[in-house]
């Protein structure tokens, strides 16, 4: 590895620039626009704030990247985020401690994702249909314990996740960093990641090559469920409570982050680096427009247009290479 790197000393950067140049430019342009319009935008405090705000979306988007890479979609993650928060709140109410609650919440995420995966893989149903259905089912489940009322969370360790810092950085940001590294390494450095790329690229060829595509698919939906559950933990920690409408329409932001980052909806193409840049773009747009007091409905319109623009630029540059 080392001598190979030596021989191509600048190549990795050149490659990164070629691959992500487009969205990196978008990111920088956005930052410049917002800092010109509001001098408080480019402060350390505000950027920290942005990073914390994007945490929930970024982590969900890591899971979404896996799913989209496979040529599938997971619309249920917003609901899983809410279920995770409510599961934690109920576990604390039932007297569980921090660790058991944490494990239970993650297991709940894995189970919901696994259900999506099994229904998609074993029954051969399109994931779009399966996850539209489970999106409703999971959202309904959230309200069962409290009849639709929010549930408070008072566990101090749980609350600390969203409130405290560790060596100068908010814990939330550490979690994003760790999960980014984990997903990035799993996707780009392991045989499992490779199997995901191959299955997404051409499922039939993957089957012929001895890849257990159903197993890959179920595992990936489980990863998506677990990532959504972690997002749910962070969200409930920051809100000190589990809300029944938590995470509503977060799946759209997660899809947008992944697609902005170059993940192809046709499957087989995408990276975690792209996704984190995509999540940053969305987070900065949200934050910047909030600071400029842009009304919410304008924000929606602007966000939609920016996504269209970015995806169009991406498609165009890929065509130009032909």
């Amino acid at each position: 590895m080392s001598d190979e790197k030596h021989a191509t000393a600048q190549k990795p950067y050149a490659k990164l620039l070629r691959q992500y140049g487009g969205i990196l430019v978008s990111l920088i342009v956005l930052c410049i626009i917002f800092s010109v319009m509001n001098p408080r935008f480019m402060t350390v405090a505000n950027l920290m704030n942005v990073l914390q705000q994007i945490a929930v979306i970024a982590i969900a988007a890591f899971g979404m990247t896996w799913v989209i890479l496979l040529g599938e979609i997971d619309l249920s993650i917003g609901s899983i985020i809410a279920v995770a928060g409510m599961a934690a709140a109920q576990a604390f109410l039932a007297g569980f401690g921090f660790m058991p609650t944490l494990i239970l919440t993650l297991l709940a995420g894995a189970a919901m994702g696994g259900a999506n995966g099994v229904l998609t893989a074993k029954l051969g149903l399109p994931s779009f249909i399966v996850t539209v259905a489970t999106m409703g089912i999971f959202r309904g489940l959230v309200s069962l314990p409290t009849n639709g009322a929010p549930a408070m969370i008072e566990d101090p360790t749980w609350i600390a996740i969203g409130a405290e810092s560790f060596v100068g950085l908010p814990i939330i940001i550490w979690i994003v960093v760790v999960l980014f590294v984990f997903n990035h390494v799993l996707l780009s450095k392991t045989t499992f990641g490779r199997r995901a790329y191959l299955t997404g690229g051409n499922r039939e060829a993957a089957i012929y090559s001895g890849i257990k595509v159903d197993r890959v698919k179920i595992t990936i939906f489980m990863i998506s469920g677990i990532m959504a559950a972690i997002s749910g933990i962070l969200l409930s920690s920051r809100l000190y409570s589990a809300q029944t409408n938590a995470g509503t329409s977060y799946e759209l932001d997660a899809i947008a982050a992944a697609v902005l980052g170059g993940t192809s909806l046709a499957g087989g193409v995408g990276t975690m680096i792209g996704t984190i840049i995509g999540a940053l773009i969305i987070g900065i747009m949200n934050n910047g427009m909030n600071m400029l007091s842009v009304p919410y409905f304008y924000q929606l319109i602007v966000k939609g247009l920016v996504i269209l623009l970015a995806v169009w630029l991406d498609v165009r540059s890929k065509r130009a290479k032909q």
């Binding site: 045989t191 990641g193 690229g201 051409n202 089957i207 012929y208 090559s209």
Partner: protein, 504 residues
């Protein structure tokens, strides 16, 4: 008439094409006359398909100009080209598997009223086209259910269905066809010729080229080499022009004697059946033996190989090393060191968007797994580079997406992928489909080498000379049944008699 047939219909002047840094065509020129079959001959990656795609409006030339029917010609897209009377049958099949034959043939030109497709008119029109061409296909069938050969016929029907063609391009139309369908195609070509239509024909089958062509242009590495009339040239001269050296033989000699009959078979299949596809097939193959499989369309060879590889359920007994073996999936098959070079490289063999390297390592990922499932990327790269060298795959680098390789080089990549699994039993379904003569020889050499090292080889091919030239023994199939097991020295007449079922 003779004045008309010598009319120049297409003139290509100094056309060049760059794909990024890769130069696919350099100052090409070509003159095609009405009523003549003009064959383009060149190695894999020489630039034949690229030139044809420029004529069809799929790519645009980087430099140079084209004259068609006496006017400057620069089509924006294939529809544009068709409107001018130029139609193309692409090398890589471009059909929608979940649509019917009729829908595919008339795609984008469906008979319709205010945007509503008239299904009956559609089927009637397609049936007419197919009947006029004399093709044996049912237009209501879904393309996904057809064999590769039938799909190729549909592709041909689709290409030939435009109203008044002046120039028809056929890019390796026969690579999946057996002789019977090839004959049908040739009579279609004769009829077109008689009507004064010009044909540009691409193929790697030399006998076919000599039978069909009027003019032959050889290109090499994207450059024009020479144009000859068929009468003035021999196969050997053409091959020499094409590969730039003499080639004396087509099939390399065996490296070791065929295994004796007394050897125990490594694989034996007994009463192998699957409803509607093949019935009661039995054969065995020994270590180091090359067992050929020949048959016409619908003989069930590919279906049987798929079943043997665990892609389809079948009944019967399969023994490996004399032990009964259950192969319920490709995972089982690969676990038993069986490899399967499938017939349909685009759908079953390759991930077109991924690199040559990823495609080559795809079936042998376990070999590159270190602790915790990490990939040993350096070993993977070394292996891929080795295979590219061994099979002389023409690619800018192993990082190039395999979809941008020429057809023949894609085929070699599939072969490389399966060789990397170091199989004990290697199933080859049309392994030299679309491969040029020089590279074919290399592939045959590798097959011989593997056999000498003890690999058992099942070689399915619709090219009779290939199966006869390579096999130690030969299984002939007819309509899903085994009709004969013949020794390697069988005559073509005997084989054809068993393949067509006309044995008395």
């Amino acid at each position: 008439m003779s004045a008309a047939t010598s009319d120049v219909i297409l003139k290509i002047n100094n056309v060049s094409k760059l794909f990024g840094p890769v130069s696919a065509l350099k100052n090409m020129h070509l003159t095609v006359r009405a009523g003549r079959v003009h064959t383009l001959l060149g190695e894999n990656g020489a630039g034949k398909s690229t030139l044809m795609k420029i004529l069809a409006g799929v790519y645009h030339a980087t430099a140079g100009d084209v004259e068609f029917c006496g006017a400057p010609y620069k089509p924006e897209n294939p529809q544009d080209a068709a409107a001018r009377g130029l139609t193309i049958v692409f090398q890589e099949l471009s059909l929608c598997n979940n649509m019917t034959v009729a829908e595919n043939i008339l795609a984008t030109r469906e008979p319709s009223v205010y945007g509503f497709i008239n299904d009956q008119a559609l089927e009637r029109r397609a049936a007419e086209i197919v009947r006029d061409l004399g093709l044996p296909i049912d237009v209501t069938e879904k393309v996904g259910n057809l064999s590769m050969a039938q799909r190729q016929l549909v592709e041909i029907a689709k290409g030939l269905s435009i109203d008044a063609p002046r120039l028809v391009i056929l890019d390796e139309p026969t690579s999946s066809l057996t002789e019977a369908e090839t004959d049908i195609l040739f009579s279609i070509i004769d009829r077109l010729k008689a009507k004064g239509v010009a044909i540009i024909y691409i193929s790697h089958r030399m006998e076919e080229i000599m039978r069909l062509s009027d003019d032959i242009t050889v290109i090499r590495d994207g450059e024009y080499i020479a144009t000859r009339q068929r009468e003035d040239v021999t196969i050997d001269e053409l091959i020499a022009m094409m590969v730039g050296r003499q080639m004396n033989e087509i099939y390399p000699p065996r490296l070791s004697p065929a295994p004796p009959e007394s050897d125990a078979p490594i694989l034996s299949v007994e009463g192998f059946s699957r409803d509607g596809e093949f019935e009661n097939v039995s054969f065995d193959v020994r270590k180091g033996e090359i067992l050929g499989f020949f048959g016409l369309i619908g003989s069930g060879r590919s279906e049987m190989m798929n079943a043997l590889f665990g892609m389809k359920a079948a009944t019967g007994i399969v023994r490996i090393d004399s032990e009964p073996a259950t192969i319920a999936s490709p995972v089982d098959a690969i676990g038993r060191r069986i490899a399967f070079v499938t017939e349909n490289r685009k759908e079953e063999g390759l991930v077109l968007a991924h690199s040559v390297e990823w495609n080559i390592s795809m079936a042998a990922l376990g070999r590159f797994a270190a602790a915790l499932g990490f990939m040993r990327r350096r070993d993977e790269r070394t292996a891929a580079v080795d295979e590219v060298g061994r099979l002389t795959i023409k690619t800018a680098s192993v990082d190039t997406p395999v979809g941008s390789l020429s057809g023949g080089n894609q085929q070699k990549t599939v072969l490389a992928k399966w060789l990397l699994t170091q199989p004990r039993i290697l199933i080859l379904d049309e392994p030299t489909r679309g491969v040029d003569v020089g590279a074919k020889f290399e592939i045959y050499k590798i097959i011989r080498q593997l056999a000498a090292e003890g690999t058992a080889i099942l070689l399915v091919s619709s090219e009779l000379p290939e199966v006869l030239g390579m096999s130690d023994r030969l299984v002939v199939m007819h309509e899903g049944r085994l009709s004969a097991t013949l020794p390697g020295g069988a005559t073509p007449e005997t084989v054809m008699a068993h393949a067509t079922g006309i044995t008395s």
